[in-house]
C-alpha cells in the first residue's frame, strides 16, 4: 500500500478511537452522575446550574480536551526530537525545556507573589517564560561562535541545561516553606486540570503553530537520516531545518509544560509504538503521533483521576508506570524503528 494509503487508514482508525475514548471519558468520573444525565448535559438539555452540567461541561470536557491536546503535542515533539537528534532516547524533557518551565513555576509558586499577581500573569506565564529561557539557552550554547549547529552539542546543551534547572529547583524546594511545598511538588508531578476556554484557545493556538512547523518539515526530516551533508546535497537547507524543528518542538513542549506541568514518557512511548507499526517515515509518524499521543494521555488521565477516587493520582505517575516497562520491552526486542 502506498504511504498515503497507509496514513489515511491508520489516521482514520486512530481518529475513530480518539472519539470513542473521549466520549467514554466523559462518562467516567468521581461524581456519581448517570450516563443519561451526562448525555443530557452534553445535548444541552440539563438545567443551567445542575451538577451534571457543571461536572460534564466545566470539569470533564475541558480536562479531556487538555489531555488530548497535551498528549498529541508531547508525542509530536518526541518524534521531532528523535528525528532531529537521530537518537531514539530523545524526548521532550531531554532538551531541558521542561526543566526551565518547572523552574518558572516553582519561582512563581514559592514566592507566592500574592494571589492576585499570580492569577493575573498566571503560573502558565511563568512556566512559559522559564521554558523559553531554557530553549534559548540550549540553542545559544550550541550555536554561539559557530556557523553550524552540531546536533550532539545541542543534545549535550539540553542535558546540561536540564540538570541546571533541576538543581535550581531542588535548591528552592529545600528552602521552601513547608506549607507551600505540597503545592510545588504536586505541580512537578504533572497534573492535568480543566482550563478556562480563553486559555484553552491560546493553548490550542500555540500547539497548532508548533505542530505546523514540524509537519511542514516532515519530509526533510526523513532526508536527515542520510546525514546532514547528504541532505544538503539533496537540496535541504539543513541549518534552517534544524532551527525550524527545534523551534516547533520547543514550542510544543513549552506550551504543554506551561499549561499542564511536566509529563514524561509520552514523547517516548507513542512515537516508538507507532514506529513499530508504521516504520520510520516521519510523514506518517508526525500526524499519527498527534492522534496517538492524544489517546494515550487521555487514557492515562482517565485512569489517574478515577482509580483511587476521590483522590487523584498525577497523570505523570501513570505515564511513567506505563512507560518504564514498555521501554524495557523496547530495549529487549529489535524493532525497525531504529534511527
Amino acid at each position: 500500500m502506498s504511504p498515503q494509503g497507509r496514513l489515511a487508514l491508520v489516521l482514520g482508525g486512530l481518529a475513530g478511537l480518539l472519539v470513542a475514548v473521549a466520549a467514554a471519558a466523559l462518562f467516567i468520573g468521581s461524581a456519581p452522575i448517570s450516563p443519561g444525565a451526562v448525555f443530557g448535559a452534553v445535548t444541552g438539555r440539563a438545567a443551567a446550574e445542575s451538577v451534571e452540567r457543571v461536572v460534564t461541561l466545566s470539569i470533564r470536557l475541558p480536562r479531556i480536551v487538555v489531555a488530548a491536546l497535551a498528549g498529541g503535542a508531547l508525542a509530536v515533539a518526541g518524534v521531532a526530537f528523535q528525528a532531529l537528534t537521530r537518537n531514539p532516547l530523545a524526548e521532550p524533557s531531554v532538551l531541558g525545556i521542561s526543566g526551565g518551565a518547572a523552574f518558572g513555576v516553582v519561582i512563581g509558586q514559592s514566592f507566592g507573589l500574592g494571589l492576585t499577581v499570580v492569577q493575573a500573569v498566571g503560573l502558565t506565564g511563568f512556566a512559559f517564560a522559564g521554558a523559553l529561557l531554557a530553549a534559548a539557552a540550549v540553542y545559544l550554547i550550541a550555536a554561539v561562535g559557530r556557523a553550524v549547529i552540531q546536533i550532539q552539542t545541542l543534545l549535550l546543551a539540553g542535558v546540561i541545561v536540564g540538570i541546571f534547572f533541576a538543581s535550581a529547583i531542588t535548591v528552592i524546594i529545600s528552602l521552601l516553606d513547608f506549607n507551600r511545598l505540597g503545592g510545588v511538588i504536586h505541580w512537578l508531578l504533572g497534573n492535568l486540570a480543566p482550563i478556562p476556554p480563553g486559555a484553552l484557545g491560546l493553548f490550542a493556538l500555540l500547539l497548532a503553530a508548533g505542530f505546523g512547523l514540524v509537519l511542514s518539515h516532515a519530509r526533510e526530516l526523513n532526508l536527515l537520516a542520510l546525514g546532514e551533508e547528504s541532505a544538503q546535497q539533496l537540496g535541504v537547507n539543513a541549518e534552517r531545518l534544524k532551527l525550524m524543528i527545534f523551534t516547533g518542538a520547543a514550542l510544543l513542549t513549552a506550551s504543554v509544560v506551561a499549561f499542564a506541568g511536566p509529563i514524561g514518557f509520552v514523547g517516548l512511548v507513542v512515537p516508538h509504538t507507532l514506529r513499530m507499526l508504521l516504520g520510520p517515515d516521519n510523514r506518517l509518524l508526525v500526524p499519527t503521533s498527534l492522534v496517538g499521543g492524544a489517546i494515550f494521555l487521555l487514557v492515562a488521565d482517565t485512569v489517574a483521576r478515577n482509580v483511587v477516587a476521590p483522590a487523584e493520582l498525577s497523570v505523570g505517575v501513570i505515564t511513567s508506570f506505563c512507560g518504564a516497562p514498555f521501554f524495557v520491552y523496547l530495549l529487549r526486542t529489535r524493532y525497525r524503528g531504529a534511527l
Binding site: S30, A31, V51, I59, G112, D177, G183, P310, A311, E312
Partner: protein, 291 residues
C-alpha cells in the same frame, strides 16, 4: 398618624428581599452568598474541627482525607487531599461555600472553584488571636454565634490557667522539632512558636522567617536548647527516632534528660484542640508546675 406607618409598611413590602449574605474572609476578600451557607465543604482539617466544636456539623457536607477529628468527621464524604481535592467530588456535593486555607491548599484550587461559580472563604492563622478570631468567624458564618461564646470562654480559661502556672518560672530555651529529616522548625509566624511562649518557654527558632522553615542541625545545636520537643504526627507516621538526638550529649537538654515527645496534631492545626497542645507543652517544659 397612620400614614407614616402605612408608608413604611408599603416600603417594606416592596423593598428588595433581605440583603444577600456577605462576609469578609481572613484575607480581606468579600464573599457574597444568596443566603447563609447551608452546605459547606471544608478543605482544612482545623476548620472541620472547629465546625464540630461549634455544633455546626450538619451544615458540613464534605471534608478532606485529613479531616480525622472528631472521629465523626471521617464519616463525612471526602473530596480528596488538601493539595489535590477532586473538583468533581466537590461539585457533586452542591456546596454553597468552600472553606480553604492559603497554608495547605493551592491557589489553583481557589481559581478553579471560582470559575465553577463556587464561593470560597479563605482562612489563615498564625497566632492564638487568629485562632479565636477564626472560631468567632465560623460561628458567624454558620449562625452558631451563641455556641462560639462558651467555646471561646473555655479556651480562654485554660490558657489563663497555664499562664498562671508557668508565670513565676524561668524560661528555658526550647527547640521544637516539627520534622527531623530534613530538620524543620517553627519560625516567626507559626502558631507553635506563640504556644511555646505561653507555655513558659523561649522558642529558639522564633527569629526565623516563615512558618515552618528548614534549619540546620548545627544551628540548632548552637542554640544550646535546654528542652527539646519532638513532634509526632499521628499513628501513620511511625515512631520518632530519638537516638540521633540522644547522641548530642553536649546539649543541655540531653544532659538533663529533657527530650520529650508531643502530639503534633494538637499543635500544628489551629482548631480548638490547640489548648490541649498548649497544656502538653507546658507539662513538658515545666513538669514541676503540674504535679
Amino acid at each position: 398618624m397612620r400614614a407614616p406607618a402605612l408608608a413604611v409598611g408599603v416600603l417594606l413590602a416592596v423593598a428588595p428581599p433581605a440583603a444577600a449574605f456577605s462576609a469578609r474572609d481572613m484575607l480581606g476578600r468579600e464573599v457574597t452568598l444568596a443566603a447563609p451557607p447551608a452546605r459547606i465543604v471544608s478543605l482544612v482539617p482545623s476548620v472541620t474541627e472547629i465546625l464540630y466544636a461549634l455544633g455546626a456539623e450538619e451544615r458540613l457536607v464534605g471534608v478532606t482525607d485529613f479531616c480525622d477529628y472528631p472521629p465523626a468527621a471521617r464519616q463525612r464524604p471526602s473530596v480528596g487531599g488538601m493539595v489535590n481535592p477532586n473538583l468533581e467530588a466537590i461539585v457533586a456535593l452542591r456546596p454553597d461555600l468552600v472553606i480553604a486555607t492559603t497554608e495547605g491548599n493551592r491557589e489553583e484550587t481557589f481559581a478553579q472553584l471560582e470559575r465553577l461559580g463556587i464561593p470560597t472563604y479563605l482562612v489563615a492563622a498564625h497566632l492564638v488571636s487568629d485562632v479565636t478570631d477564626l472560631i468567632a468567624r465560623l460561628g458567624a458564618l454558620t449562625g452558631r454565634e451563641r455556641a462560639a461564646g462558651p467555646v471561646l470562654a473555655r479556651l480562654e480559661r485554660r490558657i489563663e490557667a497555664v499562664k498562671r502556672a508557668v508565670a513565676p518560672r524561668p524560661r528555658p530555651r526550647v527547640l521544637y522539632v516539627l520534622w527531623p529529616e530534613p530538620l524543620i522548625v517553627p519560625g516567626r509566624t507559626a502558631l507553635v512558636t506563640e504556644l511555646i511562649r505561653l507555655a513558659g518557654g523561649e522558642p529558639v527558632t522564633a527569629g526565623e522567617a516563615d512558618a515552618y522553615p528548614r534549619y540546620s542541625l548545627e544551628a540548632a545545636v548552637a542554640k544550646a536548647p535546654e528542652v527539646i520537643l519532638l513532634a509526632n504526627h499521628g499513628a501513620n507516621t511511625g515512631p520518632i527516632d530519638e537516638t540521633k538526638w540522644q547522641r548530642l550529649t553536649s546539649l543541655p537538654a540531653i544532659h538533663a534528660g529533657r527530650l520529650h515527645r508531643v502530639d503534633g496534631n494538637l499543635l500544628h492545626r489551629y482548631g480548638p484542640r490547640f489548648v490541649d497542645g498548649l497544656e502538653q507543652l507546658a507539662r513538658a517544659i515545666h513538669p514541676e508546675a503540674f504535679k
